[in-house]
């Protein structure tokens, strides 16, 4: 065994003895294994007003508060980028603004809490909360190197242990190495069984946060306190390791799950392989379809990283449905939408499937295609997009070709939205129509932009929108700490918004040759090519018959 090779640059190095003093649960770890903890933790002292970490910055450590308290908040403006027409009637240019949900309420925007990398959630209306002694934060950053989900500032002088993953794993006991990693690395990675720290953390979570967490889910908003308290006692807190299957398609439905932390991949097994339906993060839930309709699991749910879940057993779930019809109604609506979305994903028939799948077109659900037989390469589509988005186009007239169509480089609203998989605050999500939208609480860390395989997410500088800055200050901001709360250079993620403010996307509207179209690729290409191929088949059959007749005649003549 070797000690941790990673280095912590700031703070007072902790000897094993000191570490055991601050984190006594580590005494449960066998002494030989404790060697791994050497150099993997430091003691950090912060004065009042000091920044512990900033939202969006990358890190690999978690913090355990020994004394004092900290403010946890989102410093970025709680608003989304909206492109709309400026003043000046029909000659007005398109302009991008920051718009809060109060000004423009977006449908289905039912979340009232921002999930962050701590045991608490932040309210959307006032994204500020406090963490005190004996609290842990930064667990997901430490485990998966996600950007920090919130800014943490010392509320008073405080002392913390900053730790690398190895110590977190010792405490929580959830380090699991998948077979691929095991095969790929020669370094022997130990596994830790965990300590009572995890149990204590779960207990604290159950006492302090579970009710709030349950309440933050729109589904449980109508459930009364008594039932919630009952549920609190009955639910099971479970953890799954990376790549572990939580529930499998076809298995009997036995529980409902609420995600406490981590990301869950929801997928369907299809003849061509696995089809990812969506990714769910903290605050999302799954497993309701099987329970509601008394049917086997309709999808497989897999942990993308270490996932902590709140598990509600079938009996409790059914009791809740019987007692609260409103919950049932909400769930049925959600389940219907999810079922419909999965039914849309049947493989199209009659298409050149190899090409269709290789280009990821089946994964796309709203594609900008340009008919190359019609397009005169005038680039008006690009100019229109730029004109509609402050001179910065979100469309590139380049990309792969499918038959006579150019699949332009712009948001495809993928069915497997990789851009969503590592958002530290869960601010990128889908609407029911699967359109990808970015929530107001985007912290501008650009993780989604990095993850988009097609480079279709832009980081929009916030400085350009000074005129609306004052209006966007979140309610309760008076409680928020002073400078440096507002970052000097801030960004918001923006993707092709389909020009939803307009009746037609600008690129399509501007195309003078009817070459640019926004389409559902499966539907459109099936319509385009299947009818054609049927016609060709008919022609081919006719020709074959004719040729056969000719041959017969020829043979006869011979």
């Amino acid at each position: 065994m070797q000690p941790s090779t990673e280095k912590l640059e700031q703070g007072e190095p902790l000897s094993t003895e000191k570490l055991l003093e601050h984190l006594p649960w580590l005494k449960e770890i066998p002494a030989p294994q404790l060697k791994w903890a050497e150099g993997a933790a430091v003691l950090r002292r912060f004065k009042r007003g000091d920044l512990v970490c900033e939202e969006g910055e990358f890190g690999s450590t978690a913090f355990y508060v020994l004394s004092g308290s900290v403010d946890v908040f989102i410093a970025n403006q709680i608003a989304h980028v909206k492109t709309r027409r400026g003043f000046g009637g029909f000659v007005a240019r398109m302009k991008s603004f920051l718009v809060s949900d109060r000004e423009e309420h977006r449908d289905e925007n039912t979340k009232t809490y921002i999930p962050i990398d701590a045991s608490i959630d932040l309210s959307v209306s006032s994204p500020l909360a406090q963490l005190g002694a004996c609290e842990l934060f930064g667990e997901m950053t430490c485990r998966t190197f996600q950007p920090r989900s919130a800014t943490v500032q010392a509320r008073e002088d405080c002392v913390m242990v900053e730790m690398l993953r190895v110590i977190l794993d010792m405490l929580m006991g959830s380090r699991e190495v998948d077979a691929v990693t095991k095969a790929a690395t020669k370094v022997k990675v130990p596994t830790f069984k965990g300590t009572s720290f995890k149990t204590e953390l779960d207990k604290k979570y159950r006492e302090r946060s579970l009710n709030n967490h349950l309440r933050s889910v729109p589904l449980f908003s109508s459930v009364d306190e008594t039932f919630l308290a009952l549920l609190n006692q009955k639910v099971e807190l479970v953890t799954f390791g990376k790549s572990q299957v939580i529930c499998k398609q076809g298995d009997p439905a036995d529980a409902f799950f609420l995600i406490r932390s981590g990301m869950v991949k929801v997928s369907n097994a299809l003849p061509g392989g696995e089809m990812v339906r969506t990714y769910l993060g903290r605050g999302d839930y799954f497993g309701e379809i099987g329970l509601l309709f008394n049917q086997p699991r309709s999808a497989t749910c897999t942990a993308l990283d270490t996932v902590s879940l709140v598990k509600i057993g079938k009996a409790d779930f059914e009791q809740m449905l019987a007692s609260f019809p409103v919950v049932r109604e909400t769930l049925v609506e959600v389940a219907d939408a999810r079922l419909q979305a999965s039914q849309k994903k049947e493989l199209p028939r009659g298409l050149n499937l190899d090409e269709f799948l290789n280009q990821g077109l089946f994964e796309a659900q709203n594609l900008l295609v340009i008919d190359l037989d019609r397009c005169t390469r005038c680039d008006l589509c690009v100019r229109a997009c730029a004109e509609a988005h402050d001179g910065v186009t979100r469309l590139l007239r380049d990309g792969l070709r499918y038959d006579k169509y150019l699949v332009a480089t712009t948001c495809r609203t993928c069915r497997d939205p990789l851009c969503m998989t590592q958002c530290p605050v869960g601010s990128i999500r889908r609407k029911d129509n699967l359109e990808i939208i970015i929530e107001d609480w985007c912290i501008g860390c650009s993780k989604c932009a990095e993850l988009c395989p097609f480079g279709n997410i832009n980081m929009h500088p916030v400085e350009l929108m000074e005129e609306l800055k004052a209006a966007q200050t979140p309610a309760g901001a008076g409680d928020a700490p002073k400078a440096p709360a507002a970052p000097k250079k801030s960004f918001k993620a923006a993707t092709c918004d389909l020009c939803t403010d307009l009746s037609t996307p600008s690129c399509v509207y501007a195309c003078p040759h009817d070459a640019a179209k926004r389409v559902d690729p499966t539907e459109y290409f099936t319509k385009q090519f299947v009818s054609k191929s049927r016609w060709q088949q008919v022609k081919f059959e006719a020709r074959t018959t004719h040729d056969a007749d000719e041959n017969t005649t020829f043979i006869k003549r011979k």
Binding site: F90, D373, R383, E387, R401, A510, H513
Partner: protein
């Protein structure tokens, strides 16, 4: 824009408008040719013999002329409309359809306006300019029917037009690096084990494209006969082609010749160089495609260099014609 069945509506409108205009013209100026009487309202009727004016000077002629002039102005506005593609004044597609079909409607209108006579020298010039505008427009429209398709089929590596010089530059630089990489390999090996130091290769910027390791090993024993062949080909054919302003005039500019040359080169060089030759061939092929794209792009948009200036000239002449005819004639 491709003329297809979506244009039926416009075609019918133009045909009907032409028919009505012709009917009115015949009714006004050649009533005896109609099987039925068609009299113009008294306020619009002017006897040419009485006034001594041409057809264009009559109320009906003026109406035709004014409509045609109005269409010219509308057609010219398409240029301004394209500058602001997101303006909510109707889709550009409709503007372009209207541009095409309404300007076609001006042909009968102008013929009827002129009474099938070319008139004075000024109107003769006007007609010549009009003809140039119409012919160039129809020519451009015809090109739009097959050049995009040709580009799709012949240029699978099509890229953004503005990026072509950048891509050509990149390919040229890569080929130059490949050429430089051939030099140290030819240098006589001072000792059996003394390969050129990595740092010197890196300094020369050729680490990535230097000869395959196998070649060096062979060279230590004897010079690789492939290298002079490759050098000669690159110096005489590939590099000049990749660097040329107009590549199509050179040897590798023709697809068939290029294929033959590379086939010959592949036979002449050793197996370890095949990858490099294929890379070089890919650059030359891409260069050829980009040249073709440039050419087709120029064809596709080149007609506008005639169409637009003459359209402006037409507007000026029309305005002059209108002022001269109304106020001085």
């Amino acid at each position: 824009m491709i003329i297809n069945r979506q244009h039926w509506g416009w075609a019918i409108i133009v045909i009907l408008a032409t028919g009505v205009a012709a009917l009115l013209y015949i009714g006004e100026f050649h009533p005896q040719r109609l099987p039925f009487p068609l009299a113009m309202p008294a306020s619009l009727h002017r006897d040419m013999a009485e006034t001594g004016r041409s057809v264009a000077g009559t109320p009906l002629g003026l109406i035709y002329g004014s409509i045609a002039a109005g269409i010219f102005v509308f057609a010219a506005l398409l240029g301004a409309r394209r500058k602001r593609p997101t303006l909510k004044v109707g889709r550009l597609q409709i503007w372009l359809k209207a541009h095409i079909w309404l300007t076609l409607l001006t042909v009968p209108l102008i013929l009827l306006h002129s009474g099938f006579s070319s008139g004075s020298p000024m109107t003769k010039w006007l007609l010549v300019i009009y003809a140039i505008v119409m012919v160039s427009g129809i020519y451009g429209l015809a090109l739009q029917h097959f050049i995009p398709r040709l580009m799709k089929e012949q240029v699978p590596l099509e890229t953004i037009f503005e990026q072509i010089p950048h891509l050509l530059n990149q390919m040229r630089e890569s080929a130059n690096e490949l050429r430089k990489g051939l030099e140290p390999a030819l240098a006589p090996a001072p000792a059996a084990s003394s390969a050129p130091p990595a740092s010197s290769l890196a300094t020369a910027g050729i680490a990535a494209v230097a000869e395959p390791p196998a070649a060096t090993t062979v060279l230590e024993a004897a010079p690789d006969p492939s290298i002079p062949v490759l050098k000669e080909f690159m110096d005489e054919a590939a590099l000049p082609y990749l660097a040329a302003h107009r590549g199509h005039k050179l040897l590798l500019g023709a697809q068939r010749v290029s294929d033959d040359q590379f086939r010959l080169l592949k036979i002449s060089v050793g197996a370890e160089w095949q990858g490099k030759v294929e890379q070089l061939q890919a650059w030359c092929d891409e260069r050829r495609q980009l040249d073709l794209q440039t050419k087709l792009q120029h064809w596709l948009h080149g007609w506008l260099l005639v169409h637009i200036p003459f359209s402006i000239l037409l507007l000026i002449f029309t305005a002059w014609h209108a002022v001269a005819a109304l106020f001085f004639y």
